[in-house]
């Protein structure tokens, strides 16, 4: 590991990690609601919210798969130092995956869990440029009382790809990050046609 590349992470490691974990919990409990994460550190190439999630969720027991766009020496060195997480070479071995918006059209290979242990699936951390510039879709399901309009800037092909991989209770949970905000998309959320 190159010590020159290391940078400070959380200012208050314990409380900041708890805040980012809490934000991730809330994001998955209330799908489609944007959760702020104000105390996130900066790392070149990663949005503050993405980096804060990595610092809060990853440790030595969670192999991470890095999309090629994030596979820089700087990110590798800092994740290895602050999280201690192993980097998975194959998607099948990953418990978390870090993806960009261009990696969403092919979600093959990630672990969907199994019928007995659906919780062992791979959780996708997806970094976007923003969370509200796309066309509106109507989300419904657990955690949403009446239906919620969400405007994620995602291609139609992503929703088809997600639908193809859905076999409840197996499936993929996704956390979208942009800037200091994150938004959860658990496998239980149903996506309806766009709002009028």
């Amino acid at each position: 590991m190159n010590a020159q590349l290391l940078q400070p992470a959380f200012v208050d490691p314990v409380l900041d990690a708890q805040r980012s974990f809490r934000a991730a919990l809330k994001a998955l409990a209330e799908p489609g609601l944007i959760q702020p994460l104000s105390t996130a550190p900066h790392l070149e190439g990663l949005a503050p919210a993405t980096y804060a999630l990595c610092l809060g969720l990853l440790d030595a027991d969670t192999p991470l798969w890095l999309a090629p766009g994030f596979d820089t020496p700087l990110i590798r060195a800092n994740l290895a130092f602050h999280c201690g997480c192993p980097l998975a070479v194959r998607r099948e071995d990953a418990v978390f995956a870090l993806l960009g918006e261009h990696d969403l059209l092919d979600l093959s290979g990630f672990d969907h869990g199994n019928d007995r242990y659906p919780d062992q699936s791979c959780t996708l951390l997806v970094q976007l440029s923003d969370l509200d510039s796309g066309r509106g879709l109507n989300w419904s399901g657990p955690g949403i009382q009446a239906g919620r309009q969400v405007n994620l800037p995602l291609p139609q092909a992503f929703w088809l790809e997600r639908l193809r991989r859905e076999a409840f209770p197996r499936g993929l949970d996704v956390l979208f990050c942009a800037g200091h905000h994150l938004l959860g998309l658990p496998r239980s959320t149903r996506i309806a046609e766009e709002c009028a």
Partner: protein, 145 residues
């Protein structure tokens, strides 16, 4: 097993007393530096082998304090030490960073040699004290007949 010079000084710094490092605090902190990993206290599991070569077993947990600093010129100093002394951890990491300069001779002679000598004296003193309590056991002949 031979130690590299850096292994030697990191070990000496970890075993030093806090009171021995405090006199050097001003000199150690007299540089631009940032905390990559602020001093933090945690637990580590100590494992041992019976007789030094038996099967490994867990002896128990101990508290450990660690710290990583980087000087403005990019030298990165690490420290891991037993106990819960954050100031000691930060000073030891700073000393490790300073010692990685091209000419560490001044720091070595000022700090490390003095600390190593003091530790050797303490160890010799303790061994002498312990040796004085040595008891020679001998077997009493039991009156069997």
């Amino acid at each position: 097993m031979s130690l590299s010079p850096r292994q030697h000084w990191i070990g000496v710094l970890a075993r030093a007393l806090r009171s021995e490092l405090i006199p050097h605090e001003a000199a150690l902190r007299d540089a631009d530096y940032q905390l990559i990993r602020a001093p933090e206290i945690g637990m580590t599991l100590v494992r041992g082998r019976m007789g030094g070569n038996g099967a490994p077993f867990n002896v128990g947990e101990m508290s450990v304090t660690r710290c990583v600093v980087r000087l403005a010129d990019g030298r990165t100093g690490y420290s891991y030490l037993a106990g819960r002394d954050k100031v000691h951890a930060e000073l030891a990491a700073l000393a490790d960073a300073h010692l990685q300069s091209a000419q560490p001779s001044q720091w070595l002679s000022d700090l490390i040699d003095a600390l190593a000598n003091a530790q050797a004296r303490r160890r010799a003193q303790k061994e002498a004290d312990t040796a004085a309590t040595k008891v020679e056991f001998f077997t009493l002949v039991r009156g069997e007949n």
